[in-house]
């Protein structure tokens, strides 16, 4: 088959994974202060369960919401709540946050209790535990996992795909997790398989990680490990389904419409960890990297740790920091300040210095589209990005909708290849925003 182990379109940006791929996951030093935003997943903001002056313990629930699509947040350190106030988050908006000063004792809350072994626990109990632990999709979409684990009855799920592609340049947190936390990963896959009632599970890994592929093939005997062609955005769930099962998710549909559930490796490992120890989601693996960062690392970081502390822990940079990304360079967001906290979706912190940015932006000026068609070639969801961008520039949202702007996965492949350096993704994002608001 011509398109075996890959999908149509896509690009191959420089991988830049060499800074951290050989470094195992380390525990980050305990932060003196954490800022935990009360809005960390898809859905509505939560209300705070603690007030200024309260003493909190590790694993204590500090924010919850009554809405169906939400996951609670917990504190990862013990100490005293010094403020509940709006703080800046990675998107540049002010979000109500709980600020906790550590007392260094790390006393564990009484609410943290391990769950019974997998054979004895019922499906409802697992979903409830996942919900209470505040587990969300750790690949970056931060969609509450308990909703994914309880699909509507009419949708029959027959395949589970575990996403270990990690197609974003620079990031190695999922790769290291597959090597360093194999027991939790295997256990998590078993649990997800039990909950969804599926027999067939796949794990997709890009072939630029041969060590992980060999290792998982040896260790996971009930899961089919698929080596995928190294191509961005291989880790997009729709691309992954197309590659592994050759099924296409319909326009506007979800993977469950074609009977597939996609979970990130980190999410699986977190589910296992929560069920084994009872500890809710209080930390995650973050790749802190950059060409001029002195000691790049894969760190297990408490949610709420400030970027400034992490960059300091990694030895700071040679030169001046100019741009810091939350996530990888393709889909990540440039953060507005270093005093923002790690949230549940932070997979990486990529630091760029003034020197690098100057080199990158030396001839970065926008020109008009020359109709070369490269964006159309690389678009993994078969859109015409240049045309969409044109209509978005003119403000014709109805035409954007007709051209299926809503199917855009915002991967950024079109902007990457654009010879005229147009901000195509941003224009399409703008169109999507306006379609949601204005077009019925």
């Amino acid at each position: 088959m011509l398109f075996k182990n890959t999908f149509v379109g896509g690009i191959h940006p420089p991988e830049e994974k060499e800074f951290t791929e050989k470094l195992g996951i380390e525990e980050a030093t305990l932060p003196k202060q954490v800022v935990i935003p009360l809005h960390q997943c898809t859905g509505f903001p939560y209300r705070s369960l603690v007030a200024k002056g309260d003493l909190v313990k590790v694993g204590q629930k500090i924010g919850d919401s009554d809405s169906a699509i939400s996951a609670p947040v917990h504190t990862g350190i013990s100490g005293k709540v010094v403020a509940v106030e709006p703080r800046l988050t990675f998107m540049g908006r002010m979000v109500e946050s709980v600020v906790i000063d550590s007392d260094g004792k790390q006393d564990v809350s009484d609410s943290v209790k391990p769950h019974p072994v997998i054979e004895k626990i019922s499906i409802q109990e697992i979903v409830e535990a996942v919900k209470n632990a505040g587990i969300v999709g750790l690949g970056g979409a931060v969609f509450p996992t308990h909703i994914k684990l309880s699909p509507p009855k009419e949708k029959r799920i027959d395949n589970l795909i575990v996403n270990g592609a990690e197609c974003e340049p620079y990031l190695t947190c999922d790769y290291r997790l597959m090597l360093d936390d194999i027991f939790n990963l295997a256990y998590g896959i078993d649990i997800a398989r039990k909950v969804l009632g599926v027999s067939k599970a796949y794990i997709g890994i890009e072939d630029n990680k041969p060590v992980a592929i060999d290792y998982l093939r040896k260790k996971l005997n009930r899961v089919e490990v698929r080596a995928l062609k190294t191509k961005y955005p291989q880790g997009g769930e729709k691309q992954l389904i197309k590659t592994i099962l050759n099924r296409e998710v319909p326009s506007g549909g979800l993977p469950m419409d074609v009977g597939v559930m996609v979970l990130n490796v980190a999410t699986c490992a977190q589910i296992a960890k929560t069920l084994k120890t009872g500890m809710p989601m209080i930390d995650r693996v973050v790749t802190v990297t950059g060409k001029y960062l002195r000691n790049p690392a894969n760190l297990r970081v408490k949610i709420g740790t400030l970027y400034r502390d992490l960059i300091e822990e990694c030895g700071g940079v040679d030169g001046t920091i100019r741009k810091v990304l939350c996530g990888g360079p393709m889909m990540g967001v440039a953060v507005p300040s270093l005093d923002i906290p790690v949230h549940k979706g932070t997979s990486g912190i990529v630091v760029f210095t003034q020197k690098e940015i100057d080199e990158m932006e030396r001839d970065r000026y926008e020109e008009v589209c020359v109709r070369c068609g490269r964006c159309t070639e690389v678009c993994p969801v078969y859109l015409n990005p240049s045309l969409l961008a044109d209509y978005a520039e003119k403000g014709d949202w109805e035409m954007c909708k007709k051209l299926n702007a809503m199917d855009c996965i915002e991967c950024g492949a079109c902007s990457f290849v654009c010879g005229s350096r147009r901000d195509i993704v941003q224009l399409i994002k703008l169109a999507k925003d306006n379609i949601r608001k204005h077009v019925k």
Partner: protein, 264 residues
């Protein structure tokens, strides 16, 4: 020869029959078109700017004759056109209406309110607003990328060096397009005789507003106390002057500690 006669006769008969049918239908289905529509259409500027809210000048003339639109509806034509239209319609236009203009309710340019972060994306206010809620330190203030300049049909808005749009009040026809284009809805329509207005839209608390912009309204309420005619009200840490009640005493301008109330 015979062929020619037959064809002439044949054509003549067809022509006669067709003529009769056309004549009959013209009588039977005659629809009277008001000649005034044509006349008003002539009198209008013909720019089809759409500021009146109708699809072009023709649409407006039809609406005027149908009695749906006011004779003063054409904003671009102004007083002259109104006179012509009222003459055609045979009605006396009301007394001279006061000119209304669009006013920007923000004084925080690049100098007063710095950027939170460098923005390098699409250079329109609407796009900038979606990235982290806008790059400006003040979340209510003008982003200064000029969406209003682009939509203005009479080119009366220009960007100044401080990154704030300046409205030429003489040219402004109060069409309201800038009100809709601004993602932070910073424009408002006020009569040109309004002497004082609050040059700020920040609804933040005093300390936050002051940090974000040097000349923000901090909601201190001094102007409310000083105003002799109770024209100023305070809502969401933002003063508002009611132009109907304002007696133009000028006490608010002197009292305002951040100088956010200005004279037009």
């Amino acid at each position: 020869m015979k062929t020619i006669i037959i064809s002439i006769l044949g054509l003549g008969v067809i022509g006669l029959v067709a003529g009769l049918i056309l004549g009959y239908t013209n009588q039977k289905f005659y629809r009277k078109v008001d000649p005034r529509i044509e006349e008003i259409d002539e009198a209008l500027p013909g720019a089809n700017c759409g500021a009146c809210g109708y699809p072009g000048c023709r649409g407006f003339s039809e609406a005027v004759v149908a009695g749906k639109a006011d004779v003063k509806g054409c904003l671009l034509g102004g007083e002259q056109t109104t006179c012509k239209i009222s003459k055609i319609m045979g009605i006396e236009a009301n007394k001279k209406k006061e000119k209304i203009v669009a006013i920007l309710k923000c004084g925080g340019g690049k100098e007063q309110s710095p950027s939170k972060f460098d923005y390098q994306g699409v250079q329109t206010c609407q796009a900038a607003q979606t990235i982290g809620g806008g790059f400006k330190a003040c979340t209510y203030g003008c982003l200064g990328l000029g969406d209003c300049v682009i939509v203005c049909p009479v080119d009366c808005i220009k960007m100044d060096e401080n990154g704030l749009p300046q409205v030429e009040y003489e040219k402004c026809i109060a069409c309201g397009k800038c009100l809709k284009a601004c993602p932070r809805t910073l424009f408002t329509l006020l009569p040109i005789s309004t002497k004082y207005h609050v040059n700020c839209s920040s609804k933040d608390k005093g300390a936050i507003a002051r940090k974000a912009c040097k000349i923000a309204c901090i909601g201190c309420g001094i102007c409310v106390k000083k105003c002799p005619s109770e024209a100023i009200t305070m809502k969401d840490f933002l003063a508002k002057i009611n132009p109907k009640k304002c007696t133009k005493s000028g006490k608010c301008i002197k009292a305002c500690p951040t100088k956010c109330i200005i004279q037009m």
